[in-house]
């Protein structure tokens, strides 16, 4: 199932325009103050001190002119990224652009400074502008390339984040499809035979028919409502299991005996949603469905210190009696889900019980809130 809110790619770097402008100005203000302090100190050391205010003013003009140019440089960099096949052409393009932008910046800077600091001995002249605009031009080119590199780094980071997001989304979908697969294990044989049993009960035992319908409804309701919930309290899991077992009991009458041994302290423990049903169903399939004699299915839970043990035992022919000794799709899913939920902190074994039949044992961390 697709969920629109999740399939929309999220943007991790591109923030609203206002926030970007604020960030731009803040960064360049910091740069200006730092550079101002630096030149003030250097000029002080060199014996030609300038007023602190003058130094700071010049550097801030320098920085804010860059702040004004930054959006254009970033946009240009985004439009013509370097990481393409035509990287050489792009490199030359940006080299030219860097010189151009640095020159524009420098000219603007000197025009402003000369205009503001104009005094009788120091007036604006193109001659001075032409001589000064080339000094420290390499610094401007360097800043352009710095912006270019920042833009590319941000691009890579965004791609990385998007990839990571997609991976987590895949994982979620996997889990969901696994749950769907579990739901599918309400096999047609079970469903149609149950409906047939109900249809027979209607005539002679209407109350039992109603009971069976409500159990079936209970099962369907729990399955439908299980979406998104990876874990439920054991008590809830047992409601589902009991409905299932009651239906089977009605279908097979004395051919099936169900024994539940649930330790009271385990009732509130969290277990993977729909964990037990495929295991019990498997026991049933190897029991009642393949075995003529009376089938006994036992479900047992126990708290063992920090762990919760769940056991399902049948008196069927055991594991190796089955062709290829396949675990079946239900068990593969069970194992995969347990691994996803508990990492290495679980165990799941299906063995032949010494007294015959198959014995499935699951051990997971004992916990009462959703995450272990």
């Amino acid at each position: 199932m697709m969920h629109n809110d999740e399939s929309r790619p999220a943007s991790f770097i591109l923030k609203p325009r206002g926030a970007r402008t604020a960030m731009n100005i803040a960064a360049w203000t910091g740069f200006g103050i730092f550079m101002g302090a630096q030149s003030y100190y250097l000029l002080l050391r060199s014996g030609h001190p300038l007023l602190w205010g003058t130094t700071l003013f010049r550097e801030l003009v320098y920085a804010y002119l860059w702040a004004a140019l930054t959006p254009a440089v970033l946009a240009f960099a985004r439009k013509y990224p370097l990481d393409t096949k035509r990287w050489m052409a792009r490199f030359l393009l940006h080299l030219g652009a860097s010189v151009g932008v640095a020159l524009i910046h420098k000219v603007s800077y000197h025009v402003i400074i000369m205009a503001v600091e104009a005094s009788p001995g120091k007036v604006f002249s193109f001659e001075r502008l032409f001589s000064e605009m080339w000094t420290y031009l390499d610094y401007g080119i360097l800043l352009y390339w710095l912006l270019l590199i920042l833009r590319h780094a941000a691009g890579f980071y965004q791609k990385f984040k998007e990839k990571e997001f997609r991976a987590s989304q895949l994982e979620a979908q996997l889990t969901r499809s696994q749950l769907d697969a579990l739901k599918m294990q309400l096999q047609p044989h079970f469903l149609f035979n149950t409906l047939n049993a109900i249809s027979v009960l209607i005539t002679h035992h209407p109350d039992n028919a109603r009971r069976m319908i409500s159990k079936l409804a209970e099962m369907l309701r729990i399955t439908l409502e299980s979406g998104g919930k990876h874990e439920v309290p054991l008590e809830q899991e047992l409601v589902f299991l009991k409905s299932y077992l009651d239906i089977e009991q009605t279908r097979f009458e004395d051919r099936l005996t169900v024994k539940l041994q649930i330790a009271p302290e385990t009732m509130g423990a969290m277990v993977p949603n729909l964990l037990l049903q495929p295991i019990v169903e498997n026991a049933m399939r190897h029991g009642v469905a393949e075995h003529r004699g009376p089938t006994v299915v036992e479900v047992r839970t126990e708290r063992q210190n920090g762990s919760l043990m769940l056991q399902v035992k049948d008196n069927g022919p055991g594991l190796h009696a089955h062709k290829g000794n396949k675990e079946g799709i239900g068990f593969t899913n069970t194992r995969a889900r347990l691994k996803q939920l508990y990492g290495a902190k679980f165990s799941f074994d299906v063995v032949n019980a010494p007294e015959g039949g198959a014995l499935a044992t699951i051990i997971i961390p004992f916990h009462k809130s959703a995450e272990p």
Binding site: Q187, P188, H189, F192, N193, L195, N196, A197, I198, S199, V200, L201, T203, H204, T250, R251, F252, E253, R255, V288, A289, E290, H291, R292
Partner: protein, 253 residues
């Protein structure tokens, strides 16, 4: 006026049997003569009973409905009952067999019963098994089951894979299965066995002999088109003229 239709129900779920019993109970022309709680029970029942109409569930423990039919002389009329089996339902359609899907629709049941009644009024000597064979072999291939024969030893019923049978000898209406030097009496005629055993594995070589091809050591030709067949275990069997040509053709593969 023919007598009542003798019907048998085979299903491993008590309520499913009760359902069909309920449908039949109102009909004076049908008499329920047996109810079997699974496939093994059904094979036992038909070893000393006969019936006209069989309601047969397919999915049952240990022995399914098709295996039951392979092992008995089936009633003339069979209505398959299934909860869900796409392939089988297709096969029923292809081979023109009647079937009911669970939960059973009363109108569909009446239709099937009426068809059975019409059929019952017709030719009563028709062989039910020959019509079944193509369906049974298709289902066996689909289910990947090995070919098995139901045999009784010391009053107990068990399944013998046909691959274990060395050769088969006629014994009146029955047959002796020769398995590892032992003789097992089997309740099927040579004709029935010849029909149902896979032709690639078995071949009739005489009016009273069928042989497992994998056991043959050599064929020694005699005059008049007859021959003697030597088996790996030293057994020597007569090959009659009628069957020799087919045997030679099969052996040349």
């Amino acid at each position: 006026m023919p007598g009542k239709i003798r019907a048998v129900i085979v299903d491993d779920e008590p309520l499913a049997r009760q359902g069909i019993r309920g449908f039949l109970s109102g009909d004076p022309s049908v008499k329920l003569v047996g109810e079997c709680r699974d496939g093994v029970d059904a094979i036992k029942f038909f070893s000393d009973h006969t019936a006209d109409l069989l309601f047969l569930d397919i999915q049952m423990p240990e022995v399914n409905g098709f295996e039951v039919l392979e092992s008995i002389s089936p009633p003339r009329m069979i209505v398959f009952v299934t909860a869900y089996d796409k392939y089988a339902v297709e096969a029923f359609n292809v081979h023109a067999f009647d079937y009911l899907l669970k939960p059973i629709d009363p109108d569909r049941f009446t239709e099937a019963l009426n068809r059975a009644k019409t059929e019952f009024g017709r030719d009563r000597r028709r062989d039910g098994k020959s019509k079944l064979l193509p369906l049974l072999s298709a289902m066996r291939a689909h289910e990947g089951r090995p070919e098995r024969l139901v045999v009784r030893a010391a009053g107990r019923m068990h399944f013998l894979p046909t691959s274990e049978v060395d050769w088969i000898e006629a014994a009146g209406d029955y047959a002796y299965l020769h398995v590892k030097g032992k003789k097992i009496l089997h309740r099927e005629t040579m004709h029935e066995l010849e029909q149902r055993l896979a032709p690639g594995n078995f071949c009739r070589i005489h009016r009273s002999t069928i042989v497992n091809l994998s056991r043959i050591k050599e064929l020694q030709p005699l005059t008049h088109g007859e021959g003697i067949l030597h088996l790996r275990d030293g057994t020597r069997l007569d090959v009659s003229r009628t069957y020799r040509q087919r045997l030679v053709a099969l052996l040349s593969f």
